[in-house]
Amino acid sequence: MEQICAALEPQFPCRETTIKTLGELIGNCEEAYPAAIYLFGHTGTGKSALTKAFLQQCRKQQKVRVAQLNAIECYTTKILLENVLDALAPQGAEETAKRADNMLEFVNELRRWHDQENNSSYLIAVDNAERLRDMDANVLPVLLRLQQLTSLNLCVLLVSQLPFEKYYNKTGLSEIITLHMAQYNKAETLRILSADFVHVQRQLLAGLSGNEKGLRKCEQAMTPEFYSNYLSLFLSVFYKACRDVPELKLTARKCFSIYIEPVLAGTIEATDVSRLWRHIAGPLRAALTQIYMRFDKPADELEQQSNESDQSVRKLAQSLELPYYGKYLLIASFLASHNSAKQDKRLFVKHHGKQKKRMQTVNAKAKTTDKMSTTLGPKSFSIDRLLAIFYAILEEKVGLTCNLLSQISTLVHLKLLSFVSGEQNIMDGSARLQCTVGLEFVLHIGKVVGFNVRQYLCDFM
């Protein structure tokens, strides 16, 4: 057990307690394992990686048989069971593929192994264990009691992001040992990111190989203090927005090349922190808008990208290639979604008569200003109404052709419209759609085709 812990601790800084607990529970294959362990915590806290490494160590040092699987992949129970059997099968056993169509066969197979050989231990780790709830009803209970059912020295590790309370069902589950992996705090994050120093240094040196002068300068400047200085600057910007360690690590690596650039060029001294900060502040803020997006771009495009993201909606609306009538259909669908059908006559018919202003309606309107239909979200509409509005807002006359109708389905495919109901019976006209784009977007589309959208919205009358 000590060996395992010793091997893992440098690999996972700030996780000493968890490793110790795990080691105490399943670190020694001579002792009886607990039936099941539940490991949970947020993303990026090292659950899966830790489990994986721990199991590998167990396998290497104590010849424990381990099976690691991802519950997402197991879309049928059969795949789950066969994957487990494959991984756990004794070596040198007959080569025929293991078959287990259901739980019973699975448990029987394991029992047979128990009869054959006595003293081996088994570890099964299931990642994304929350998916087990959606599988056959017997999967989760059996996994939790697998030790008891097979009388092997076997432990099931479930890894998930949810607390175990979310698993309770009507039939109840047997007891499980839960281990929580808390999120790292700022100091811990800093420590973990600093561990990345060696990697960054190596990468930097590799990038500069061949350039003697740069290499020397780099070796001089690139010290652990310099890097941790950078990291504390970096975290001061990013820690509020993101606590996910892998994400931070990636972004830190990306931005570091910009940070060290003037030092390598010789324009700023490595010790001049304030000037370095002024240099890096802009790129860091730009990177903050890109976080979680995982754009993998060549460095020269990176800055250009950050400028573009400012006016994203306008940019999007202009860059979206839609045929002319497609744009009008989108506008028509927006109008249909955000006006009530009662108002259609007033909005779209030329001689709609005078509207009587009654005190009641005026009062009602005054009260409901905050309930503007553009802010309430889209309502559904039928295809007939969409076409009627389309023809009303389009000045020229176009035939109702296949090409036009197929535009509607194109818009649905592009997820600019979506079916609310009746997707199956478009033919009898009872299908209802809604428009999924926002007001700003449609305003820009309208500007492109020269159509004033606001003029036709009840809210702005």
Partner: protein, 719 residues
């Protein structure tokens, strides 16, 4: 099977074993045309197929070029990723997002090209996964694994190095069932085939229609791929139709953190179309042309409806077929030398076709010798002798037209607000449709050209000349009649060049008449001091500004400028950029303008067709009984459904069934004698049955719905 002239095709269902039998015997018939021998042997067909093949290969080559840049980057990316993946195990899936534009079917062949390229370079195994195959996660994974393994065996069969190896693969394929296609299977397969370090290959998964995927399935699918990416070098390629925000809104963080996105931008569809039009359709090397209207119609479908380049090409092909199908006379629409040989084989009927062309008449009227007129109209041999000259004139006209268009485009495309349009295609349409010099936009353009500064004007014109010169040497001269065209065009350019040097030499000094006028402002200024009223002042100012304007063209430069513009207008625009009406005789052989047929045939209008069928059955049935003088006429011999439909058109939103029945009965009985008064009260059960059936049919067609709110009423569903 008898060869048939009709284009309709049959569709036959074969049981499974039949197709398998068919697979073993490779297709014997190389001739894949549905048309019979007697069509394909006709000269017009050979002219057509020759023309189409040339065009098609040209288009394909062009598209290949435009794809290739993005494709090159993508392939490079895939290769790089597949090499570098071995040493890291952070489960990050390299992903390339290809922003393709909204017409997804069009882009499928782009992905096919990518697949072919990757296979041919042995860089990767590719699997194209369509959203329709991936309704569930299970289906998605199975389809992916099956395609990857199958693609391998197909590729092996293609290379066909060793026969026994092939057989083994064949056996492999038989053993593989859909349910066995799991990730485990894939892993085993990959270990067997590729896991030595030298032939490590990436597994490329292409999702051509990213937006259509079910989000839940897609998320799980990506998670699975990323979980396996440490052992299997997956590269994901997404075809995104809208924008990158679609990717980010579909994938939540726990999924997107598993991928590494690289964005690739392809050429936008309108740009692709413009390129194709400029390089292929407007190229002088093809003798077939579209008239302005047909051209506009096809681009209109593209820009207003679907953005589909493929659709455009098919529409164009249809025009081409329609054109050549006009008869063997149209076989002359080919290269000049070939046309000369074809003239000999023309029959009397073909000559008659030529004589019936609308532009033949002005030609005949233009001849003032009576005998020759008769000879042209009656003697085939005489006309055949005349034809080469006519054809030559026609072809030369189109070439000169094209050269002048080049000049003209360069001249007006960057004027402010582009009154005539800035693209070659717009100008082409404008010039062919109407006499361009009479359009107000043209006049506006000319005025703006006059306002240009000397420097701007001179550079512009010299650029125009250079452009046209380049066009002539690149595109025109290699052609058959190119020399004749080039020489006459070069003469024009030379003259323009000469006039341009005049412009350059011209000074800004005002010449004689301006000097005499110089006294006038002096007089005006004295007047200005003692004006009586505001009105008077205004009038005087107006007059003075007019005087200024009159003085303007009196500078030497302005004169020279007017001269050159005048020259361009008369010698280039009026002479060569003539509209279709003034084109030389027999231009119909080269220009397709039958727009109404094309419109009827390539644009589907289901509602209009249904309306015609129901409103006027005679249109389709061609029977004698229901000929109508007037569209709204109701005749008892019409089919019941049609009568019911016509009656329902007269109603409002709600239709009372009883009234409808009465109207129906009265229509049917209009022809019968009215002496059956005894039955006035009682409705004939037969009539009622017919009525009920017709109403049910109408409901089936979706025109009405039985109302639930009001008893015995139907609701109209159309407006």
């Amino acid at each position: 099977m008898d060869p048939t002239i009709s284009v309709s095709k049959g569709c036959f269902v074969y049981k499974n074993n039949a197709t398998r039998a068919g697979k073993k015997t490779p297709a014997k018939r190389k001739h894949s045309s549905v048309l019979g021998q007697e069509i394909t042997a006709q000269p017009f067909y050979s002219a057509y197929s020759e023309c189409w093949q040339k065009l098609e290969s040209h288009i394909a080559q062009l598209q290949h070029q435009s794809y290739s840049r993005t494709l090159e980057h993508l392939i490079e990316y895939v290769k790089k990723e597949s090499v570098g993946i071995g040493d890291k195990d952070d489960e990050i899936l390299p992903t390339a997002a290809l922003l393709t534009g909204i017409n997804q079917p069009d882009h499928l062949n782009q992905f096919e090209t990518l697949t072919r390229r990757l296979h041919s370079e042995n860089a990767a195994r590719v699997c194209v996964l369509q959203s329709r195959d991936c309704s569930t996660l299970k289906a998605a994974v199975e389809a992916m694994v099956y395609n990857l393994i199958e693609a391998q065996s197909a590729g092996g069969a293609l290379s066909a190095e060793e026969l026994d190896c092939d057989e083994e693969i064949e056996r492999d394929r038989k053993r593989l069932r859909r349910t066995q296609c799991t990730m485990k299977q894939l892993k085993a397969w990959y270990l067997n085939n590729f896991d030595t370090s030298q032939n490590r290959r990436a597994l490329v998964i292409i999702l051509p229609d990213f937006e259509c995927f079910n989000t839940a399935v897609l998320q799980d699918f990506i998670l699975i791929l990323s979980a396996h990416s440490s052992s299997l070098p997956f590269v994901l390629v997404l075809g995104v139709a809208t924008a990158m925000s679609a990717v980010h809104s579909t994938l939540p963080y726990h999924v997107s953190s598993k991928i590494k996105l690289r964005v690739f931008q392809t050429q936008p569809a309108p740009a692709g179309l413009n390129e194709m039009l400029d390089k292929v359709l407007l190229s002088p090397q093809y003798t077939f042309h579209l008239s302005g209207k047909a051209f506009k119609f096809l681009t209109y479908i593209f820009l207003y409806y679907d953005f589909s380049i493929q659709g455009f090409i098919q529409g164009f092909k249809y025009c081409l077929m329609e054109h050549y199908f006009g008869g063997n006379a149209y076989a002359l629409c080919t290269d000049y030398s070939q046309a000369l040989t074809r003239i000999k084989s023309l029959t009397h009927d073909d000559m008659e076709t030529i004589r019936r062309l609308p532009s033949f008449r002005p030609y005949v009227e233009g001849i003032n010798d009576c005998k020759r007129i008769i000879a042209v109209l009656t003697d085939d041999d005489y006309l055949k002798k005349k034809l080469p000259q006519l054809l030559r004139d026609c072809m030369l006209h189109f070439m000169l037209f094209r050269c002048s268009l080049e000049f003209f485009t360069e001249l007006v495309h960057d004027l402010p607000r582009c009154p005539l349009g800035k693209l070659r295609r717009e100008l082409y349409v404008n010039c062919l449709n109407k006499p361009i010099t009479q359009q107000t936009e043209y006049k506006e353009c000319w005025q703006m050209l006059g306002f240009l500064s000397k420097y701007e004007f001179v550079t512009k014109i010299s650029k125009c000349i250079a452009c046209t010169e380049q066009f002539i040497s690149n595109d025109i001269e290699p052609l058959e009649l190119g020399d004749a065209c080039a020489s006459s065009m070069r003469n024009q350019l030379k003259e323009i060049q000469q006039l341009l040097t005049n412009v350059v030499m011209a000074t800004m000094e005002t010449s004689g008449p301006a000097a005499t006028a110089a006294t006038a402002p002096l007089a005006g200024s004295t007047d200005l001091t003692h004006v009586a009223s505001r009105h008077e002042l205004k009038a005087q100012l107006l007059q003075r500004s007019k005087q200024d304007k009159e003085q303007q063209p009196t500078t030497e430069y302005a004169k020279a400028l007017q001269l050159i513009l005048q020259h361009i207008e008369t010698h280039l625009v009026m002479k060569y950029l003539r509209p279709l009406q003034n084109a030389p005789p027999l231009h119909e052989l080269y220009i397709f303008s039958d727009i109404s047929t094309v419109r009827r045939n390539i644009i589907g209008a289901p509602r209009a067709a249904l309306h015609t069928a129901l409103n006027n059955p005679h249109f389709y049935m061609q029977c004698k009984c229901c000929e109508l003088q007037d569209q709204s006429q109701l005749v008892s011999t019409l089919p019941d459904l049609s009568v019911v439909y016509k009656l329902h058109l007269e109603c409002g939103r709600m239709i009372n069934l009883f009234d409808w029945l009465q109207a129906f009965r009265s229509v049917l009985r209009a022809s019968e004698d009215l002496n059956e008064d005894t039955q006035q009260e009682q409705i004939d059960p037969q009539i009622q049955a017919r009525f009920t059936r017709a109403v049910a049919e109408l409901q089936f067609l979706g025109y009405i719905k039985m109302s639930k709110r009001k008893t015995d009423h139907a609701t109209r569903l159309t407006w």
